[in-house]
Amino acid sequence: MTEIVDGQMKKIDLCEECAKDQGVTDPKGFALADLLLGLGAASEMESGSGELECPACGFAQADFKKSGRLGCSDCYATFAEPLEGMLKQMHKGTQHVGKVPKALRQEMDFTKQQQQLEKQLSKAIETEDYEQAALVRDQLRGLDVPPEEPVEPKAKGTKSAKGVKGGEV
């Protein structure tokens, strides 16, 4: 089987059974690109060539090449750049849109609200609608005081804490 993917010719040998499984006999159901997606586009992260090392756990890019797993939650910040392309390919998007821990929800809502108001403000100034701008500015000022601390005082921000907490349960 030969197929051109992104201008590169890929050749792959399939036994009869695999070919049947992959649907080669049914041209509609088959795309070699799918098969090669993982191989053809070895991401920056998987190449293991980077020199980065996680300051929290000492995990290096070469370790990822071996295991396909990261070392700790801080690794996501350390390797953010080389991971980006891989995540794009792997997932529907690179912005989380699902569940948020309750304690962080309030904080995130606050940031979102602030961003929205700032957008409204610049739009109002642009259109020279000063009455509206003043209104939005007051709203923004009102927001300046962050909301009450979440009910659970243990909750951390979006960055993971390094302090080890043992026996807290």
């Binding site: 995990f59 990261l70 997932h91 690179t94 989380h96 699902g98 909750a155 951390k156 979006t158 349960v169």
Partner: protein
């Protein structure tokens, strides 16, 4: 507490009925979570894994959903115990290989289970019979939220829940349905369906997950992507896909009845003949033949047999359950003898059995 005393009987377990269970055996949600400030299990040294496990385990065991449950380190569990758990889909095969520094918490009714220090600090699973992906997510979601009070989960505003493997990032969710598709297999359509489902971004696997083959005409459909989409959307898509597959399976069964009734009766009749009379039978053959009997019962071709009995025999035929039942360690050959005895005994007991004419 001893695990084998804790586990529900196979009769009890197989007795659970669920919506659409002529095709969907069970619905499952798995969540991957990690706590902040500790290396992932694959990276952590043994002492650190033990410490993390001792930190997490009591928090899980104390949750109200786990009242009357089972909580234990993987270390004292015997190989047979671990295999029983794998056969009940309560732990992964990878977790069964773990010892000190990994743990397990099970709810009393076995519908909730948490593996501690598998690939992530927590791998939580909720399981319900039949097609109940939405309900099983609600159950999982509630449990997950209840743990937030005690555990600080590693979370990032952009990337969501942080997991050891980037493939689980974001929601950390894997929703799956176990599908019984003998009609599609017998009509040679199953590969087409598998391909279509895969094209839609879902994974299709065999009975025991990754890398296992589809024994007993069982296929597990699950989502692949976890980031950039909400849990509700992921579940909705799986739900829709499963409904589609159900429809195809129903059509395939009707086609068989209409156009190949003799062949179908032949398959089912022979399956019954073998299981009711064999003296040596492998686990694979048993699964495939019980699957055909299940099809027969669901098509009402068999009077007298019931699916709970077949599902129980299916579970009892697995290697570890066989050994627990007999009460001793058995070689493969010995298991095949005992399995045949068990099947003959149960199938001979069925009264008023009417095979298709």
């Amino acid at each position: 507490m001893e695990l084998q005393k804790f586990l529900s009987s196979t009769t009890e377990l197989a007795g659970h009925e669920g919506p659409q269970d002529h095709v969907v055996l069970s619905s499952r949600v798995r969540l991957a979570r990690n706590v902040t400030g500790r290396p992932f299990p694959g990276r952590a040294k043994k002492a650190s894994r033990v410490e993390t496990c001792e930190f997490i385990q009591p928090a899980i065991a104390a949750a109200s959903a786990m009242r009357g449950g089972f909580s234990e380190s993987m270390q004292p569990l015997q190989a047979l115990d671990k295999q029983l758990l794998v056969e009940r889909h309560l732990i992964s095969r990878e977790h069964a290989a773990k010892g000190a520094g990994s743990g397990l918490v099970l709810s009393k009714d076995e519908t909730l289970s948490v593996m501690i220090n598998e690939e992530d600090h927590l791998r939580m699973q909720a399981l319900l019979p039949g097609l109940q992906v939405k309900q099983v997510w609600q159950k999982m979601d509630r449990f997950d939220t209840s743990l937030e009070k005690k555990l600080d989960f590693a979370f990032d505003a952009r990337l969501g829940y942080l997991t050891a493997c980037p493939t689980n990032l974001g929601t950390g969710i894997r929703v799956s349905a176990m599908l019984h598709l003998p009609g599609l297999v017998l009509t040679d359509q199953v590969n087409q369906i598998v391909q279509a489902v895969t094209k839609l971004g879902h994974a299709v696997r065999g009975l025991y997950g990754e890398g296992t083959e589809a024994s007993g005409h069982l296929f597990q459909v699950s989502n692949q992507m976890t980031l950039g989409e909400s849990e509700a959307d992921i579940i909705e898509r799986i739900h829709k896909v499963v409904l589609q597959v159900i429809e195809h399976e129903e059509n395939a069964r009707q086609t068989l009845l209409r156009t190949k009734a003799k062949e179908l009766y032949n398959h089912i009749g022979r399956a019954y003949g073998t299981l009711a009379h064999a003296h040596i039978v492998s686990s694979k053959e048993t699964m495939d033949k019980l699957s055909l009997l299940r099809l027969g019962v669901k098509l009402e071709l068999f009077k007298g047999l019931t699916t709970p009995l077949l599902d129980e025999l299916f579970l009892l035929s697995q290697p570890a359950h066989m050994q627990e039942l007999v009460g001793e360690k058995l070689s493969g050959e010995e298991r095949d003898l005992h399995r045949a005895d068990l099947l003959r005994k149960h199938l001979a007991k069925v009264k008023g059995l009417k095979l298709p004419e």
